[in-house]
Amino acid sequence: MTVEYLVYFIPFYIVGLVLYIVRALKGPTLPDMVLAIDCMGYVLAALLVIFSLYLGSPLIIACAIVLTLWIYALDVYMSKYLEKKELGE
């Protein structure tokens, strides 16, 4: 199996994840926090795909699609919250 060499790349993604957590917990304003949560979601999607290959269980990859979709939905909710309009409009 050629998959084992992925182990040398995973720590970099973890370092990126930890740096985004720092910004998400520290972020002075609301949009900063949401942006950092977005980045966490995207790096997690990449990690889920890498892990599904790495652990040899290909069927668990469907989780990454759903995570991408709902992170986008969180963006939409927060921008709707920040706008002055009524929710339905």
Binding site: M1, T2, V3, Y5, L6, F9, F12, Y13, V15, G16, L17, V18, L19, Y20, V22, R23, T29, L30, P31, D32, V34, L35, A36, D38, C39, Y42, V43, A45, A46, V49, I50, S52, L53, P58, L59, I61, A62, A64, I65, T68, L69, I71, Y72, D75, V76, M78, S79, K80, L82, E83, K84
Partner: protein, 128 residues
């Protein structure tokens, strides 16, 4: 197919390596940049360079592993779908968030050199 497999594997690993580099760079940028609107650049590097590229790379690696059998096409297909979603949705999400943050004044543009959007709004060319 056998001849192509090593090529696919090498390309896939190169893409995953690019993704790892981009993640670390974007993480540093996320913490060092001064305000929200500058941090959007770091978020773009994270979404496209750090996630879209390695997911494509993982799909290519998956195509080259013949021990998975037919399942490897499932893995590669789901990977491509995830990558396409990410490519379309991540910039749109950033755009919506940036627009809402600018017009609701939730994020302050602190070291401000020039704000062309504000001038346009004052002249009435762009409506909120």
């Amino acid at each position: 197919m056998n001849l192509l497999n090593p090529v696919l594997t090498i390309i896939g690993y190169v893409l995953v390596g690019i993704g790892a580099f981009c993640q670390v760079v974007a993480g540093i940028g996320m913490n060092r940049f001064p305000n929200f609107f500058v941090r959007l650049h770091a978020a773009t590097i994270c979404a496209i360079g750090g996630s879209f590229v390695p997911i494509i790379g993982c799909s290519l690696i998956a195509l080259s592993i013949e021990e998975f059998g037919v399942i490897r096409f499932f893995l590669a297909g789901a990977g491509f779908v995830t990558a396409v979603f990410l490519l379309i949705l991540a910039p749109v999400g950033s755009h919506l968030l940036a627009k809402a943050a600018y017009f609701s004044k939730a994020a302050v543009l602190y070291p401000k050199a020039v704000d062309l959007l504000e001038e346009d709004v004052e002249r009435g060319e762009i409506r909120e």
